[in-house]
């Protein structure tokens, strides 16, 4: 429906909410820009409010070079995505909800990159998990979207628990939660006996969030979300949170063989696996999703390194990737929006009808492929330098980078050439260019990709250097330059481009081969996830049907048995002593009441006729009311009598409409005996506990407080009333609420029954 609208050539109405709310990311972007010059000079903005000092949890934020780099990427992409969505999402329902999720997500992401406290970071981290669940499952009327949203939630949420465990372990070991202090005690962290545990717990959190093998599969599946969300999740936010955490914890935890080795191997493996799979799918969005995996793998690989070169490679590629990936996702969304398809086999020749989008994609893909003069070329050069200088597995790092870069080049060619070049398909001839709101983002980011490639020195001085210096102690000069001279990285770059061209040439047989291999795999991580989830649900179903089988008798018996076992086992040895010391005497009126209550209870329990049972209940209630009256509580006695009367009236009213009690089938004899045993044991325990309580001295200080305050502070002479309506008036409000709710529910239940 959406594509029909645009194929008629009519510009869809911009969603005003989207345009208006795009001011939020724009404003934040401008704010960050204002702080930018000071950050470049090395200034660090900090804010600190105490929240829970006893937990070392503070609302502490800091803006340094690393946070600024991420913040700029997040707000810029956020602005373009919101603008884009204001048009793209026209026709969807629940747009208000969409923009709230989107901006909530952006703010949570900003919270991650700006918080100066590990626990605070974790809170924002979890917020992104929940919001990404809502965003991925935005088309919640489709089963696939729900399924994939759940997958993302389970995997990233589960990883979040590991992250929390890691943070709590750090805290339990006595390390501060503030990043600055934690970095200062970095040597102690690395030397700590629990260092492997810290590292592995945090690593699992990072791996799930940033889609590292074997937790990668939720990321391509998250493509079910509307395109603006995919662009936002992939290019700038969600998945970069893990990379950010690795970089942020660098001063505190990096530099050990465990850190470097693990990250290089996992990152390299993810990069290769993502890049290989990227040539498989025909869906453009899925292709892009796999290239994101590749990028995340490479970023993890370089976050593992300890040298300035390695970190420079990570931060530079982060920017390269954010620019081209957001532009490409948005452009693919435009193609989908205008043509109604993202299938590579059905697209072609769009250059003529979508020239501006084509231009933006050209810029982005050439940057992605790493052609000279584009920012991607700079990124690739520094990546090879970093890989060659990696402290561990430099050969593996270089080969993984080379192969995945070559594959990226080929994929970039596919994305650029297949939809835009060649003859225009018959059905596609009516396609027209998208409105400005959807062109602006890809165009600006495409232009930035070229600009940054031409002025790399400026970028390195204003963005890369502050970011790397925020996490690396040596203030070694970083210079990104266009031409380094003929050296190994340049040769590797040339090799990449030629390899990429070769792969592009043989893409059909390669794709066939890949699909065959993927088809034959007997073990896959998504399969493992699915089996695990299915088994778990089956187990939960069985468990529930056993413990929640609906039998009132079993529920109650279990509760009573647990009470008897838990209390009785401790209590049993004391029983004889209690019984001996209790004086069983009292005034004649007490004895009379005692007998009256006992007889009434017996009547209720044994009654075979409902009138008799109601009478017995009335007797018990009246007996209890008399006890209140005799022992100094006339107010309660009055309330009790009133309530008891009302209760009996209501019980009688309802029972009149129900079948008589004597018609009910009595339970079997053995069950009756069992019930009697359970009930009397519980009664015995309660009675003796009360007896024991009565033998301990009573602390009346609270009562004394109310007694002294009643007249002086609350000006009331009835102390009980003063407690209820003055000192504890909030409790009384709760009590009234319960009564109102019960009455409301009761009235509705009765009305429903009458309507039938």
């Amino acid at each position: 429906m959406r594509s029909e609208l645009s194929q008629t050539g009519k510009v869809p109405d911009c969603c005003r909410a989207g345009l208006f709310s795009s001011l939020l990311p724009l404003g934040l972007f401008v704010l960050l820009c204002l702080a930018w010059p000071r950050v470049v000079q090395g200034h660090m903005f900090t804010v600190h409010w105490n929240w829970v000092p006893s937990l070392d949890l503070a609302l502490a934020f800091r803006l340094d070079g690393l946070g600024l780099l991420f913040g700029l990427i997040i707000t810029m992409t956020g602005f373009f995505v919101t603008l884009y969505a204001s048009t793209y999402m026209a026709g969807y329902t629940q747009l208000g909800r969409f923009f709230v999720y989107l901006h909530g997500f952006m703010l949570a992401m900003l919270g991650i990159v700006l918080s100066d406290n590990l626990l605070l970071l974790f809170i924002f981290w979890e917020a992104t998990t929940v919001l990404s669940f809502l965003l991925i499952g935005f088309d919640h009327d489709q089963a696939g979207a729900r399924e994939n949203a759940r997958q993302a939630l389970l995997i990233t949420g589960g990883g979040g628990l590991f992250l929390l465990m890691g943070i709590l372990l750090l805290k339990a070991a006595g390390f501060p939660m503030t990043f600055g202090l934690l970095a200062a005690s970095g040597n102690l962290v690395r030397a700590h006996a629990l260092y492997p545990a810290f590292f592995i717990c945090i690593l699992v959190g990072v791996m799930t969030k940033s889609g590292q093998v074997p937790f990668h599969f939720w990321l391509p599946n998250a493509m079910r979300a509307p395109t603006p969300i995919s662009a936002f999740l992939h290019a700038a936010t969600m998945v970069k949170a893990g990379i950010y955490l690795l970089l942020r914890l660098h001063p505190a935890m990096a530099g050990t063989p465990l850190w470097t080795g693990t990250l290089v191997l996992i990152g390299g493996g993810t990069a290769l696996w993502g890049a290989i799979q990227a040539i498989g799918p025909c869906d453009l969005k899925r292709v892009l999703a796999y290239t994101t995996l590749m990028a995340l793998g490479v970023l993890t690989l370089f976050a593992g390194g300890q040298t300035v070169l390695s970190l420079t490679a990570a931060t530079t590629f982060l920017m390269v990737h954010a620019l081209y990936k957001a532009a490409l996702f948005l452009a693919v969304g435009s193609i989908d929006h205008q043509t109604g398809t993202r299938d590579l086999n059905r697209l072609g020749g769009l250059m003529k009808c979508m020239p501006l989008t084509a231009l933006a994609v050209t810029g982005a893909t050439l940057s992605m492929a790493g052609f000279p003069l584009f920012f991607g070329f700079i990124g690739k050069e520094i990546m090879y330098k970093g890989a060659l200088a990696q402290e561990m597995f430099p050969v593996f790092a270089t080969i993984a980078t080379l192969v995945s870069n070559a594959l990226m080049t080929a994929v970039a060619a596919v994305i650029l050439i297949t939809p835009f070049a060649g003859p225009l398909g018959g059905k596609l001839s009516l396609v027209c260019e998208v409105p400005w709101t959807m062109r602006l983002g890809p165009a600006v980011m495409g232009v930035l990709g070229v600009m940054f490639g031409i002025i790399p020195e400026w970028v390195s001085a204003h963005l890369i250097e502050p970011a790397v210096f925020a996490i690396h102690p040596d203030r070694e000069e970083i210079r990104l330059v266009f031409f380094h001279g003929i050296n190994l990285p340049l040769l590797l770059s040339i090799l990449t481009l030629s390899l990429g061209a070769l792969i592009y040439g043989f893409r059909s047989p390669l794709r066939q081969g890949l699909l065959t291999v993927l088809d034959r795999l007997w073990f896959t991580f998504p399969g493992l996830y699915q089996t695990g989830l299915d088994r778990f649900l089956t187990l939960a179903g069985r468990f529930t049907s056993i413990i929640q089988n609906g039998s009132l008798h079993i529920y109650l018996s279990v509760i009573i048995l647990v009470m008897i076992a838990a209390v009785g086992s401790v209590w049993l040895p004391h029983l004889p002593g209690i019984a001996k010391t209790a004086p069983l005497s009292g005034p004649w009126i007490a004895a009379g009441l005692f007998n009256f209550i006992l007889i009434s209870t017996a009547v209720v329990v044994t009654a075979r006729h409902r009138i008799l049972a109601i009478g017995g209940l009335g007797g018990v209630g009246a007996g209890v009311a008399l006890v209140f009256l005799v022992f100094g509580a006339p107010d309660i006695a009055l309330t009790q009598l009133l309530v008891e009367t009302l209760t009996l009236i209501f019980v009688s009213l309802i029972l009149l409409r129900l079948p008589p009690l004597e018609k009910a089938k009595p339970p079997s004899r053995s069950r009756t005996l069992r019930n009697a045993g359970l009930a009397s044991s519980a009664g015995l325990i309660i009675a003796t506990l009360l007896l024991a309580t009565l033998q301990t001295p009573l602390d009346r200080s609270l009562t004394a407080f109310f007694e002294t305050g009643s007249m002086v502070a609350a000006h009331g002479r009835n102390i009980v009333n003063v407690i209820l309506v003055d000192f504890r008036s909030f409790d009384t409000l709760g009590e009234i609420t319960v009564v109102v709710l019960a009455a409301w529910a009761g009235v509705n239940l009765i009305r429903r029954a009458k309507e039938r």
């Binding site: 309530v643 007694e707 102390i719």
Partner: protein, 136 residues
């Protein structure tokens, strides 16, 4: 005096639990009412009954004339009585509605109990589920 009341509480609790275990929903409600009374009496007794003057302050004074009954448990019991009353009414309506829908008041009937306990399919008859005939 308190020990006698403690025994009363025990007997009332035992009777209430016995009624609630009987499997007959009407008797369950009786047990519930009885239990409410027993618990109120328990709280009241635990506050001691040695002083029997009501906790009131005479005009012109700022403190009660010593000694008076413990005001705190009285306030607690007063709240508990009202809430217990509300819950009893709700339970009664629920009982009425249950009978209206299921035409039985025997808690062991298959309509209440999931007979497929232990099998793969946990979706048994669900007494709490929405009524298919419900208009809402």
């Amino acid at each position: 005096m308190e020990p006698l009341l403690a025994i009363s509480v025990g007997v009332m609790i035992a009777g209430a639990l016995y009624l609630m275990l009987s499997g007959m929903l009407v008797r369950f409600v009786f047990g519930f009412v009885l239990m409410g009374n027993a618990v109120n009496l328990l709280i009241f007794t635990a506050g001691r009954l040695s002083d029997t003057a009501p906790p009131l302050i005479a005009p012109g004074r700022t403190l009660p004339a010593e000694p008076v009954a413990n005001a705190l448990p009285q306030a607690l019991v007063l709240t508990a009585i009202v809430i217990g009353f509300a819950m009893t009414l709700f339970l009664l309506v629920l009982l009425y509605r249950t009978y209206d829908r299921t035409r039985t008041l025997d808690a062991d009937q298959p309509v209440f109990v999931n007979e497929q306990a232990g099998t793969d399919d946990p979706a048994g008859p669900d007494p709490d589920g929405p009524d298919p005939k419900d208009p809402a």
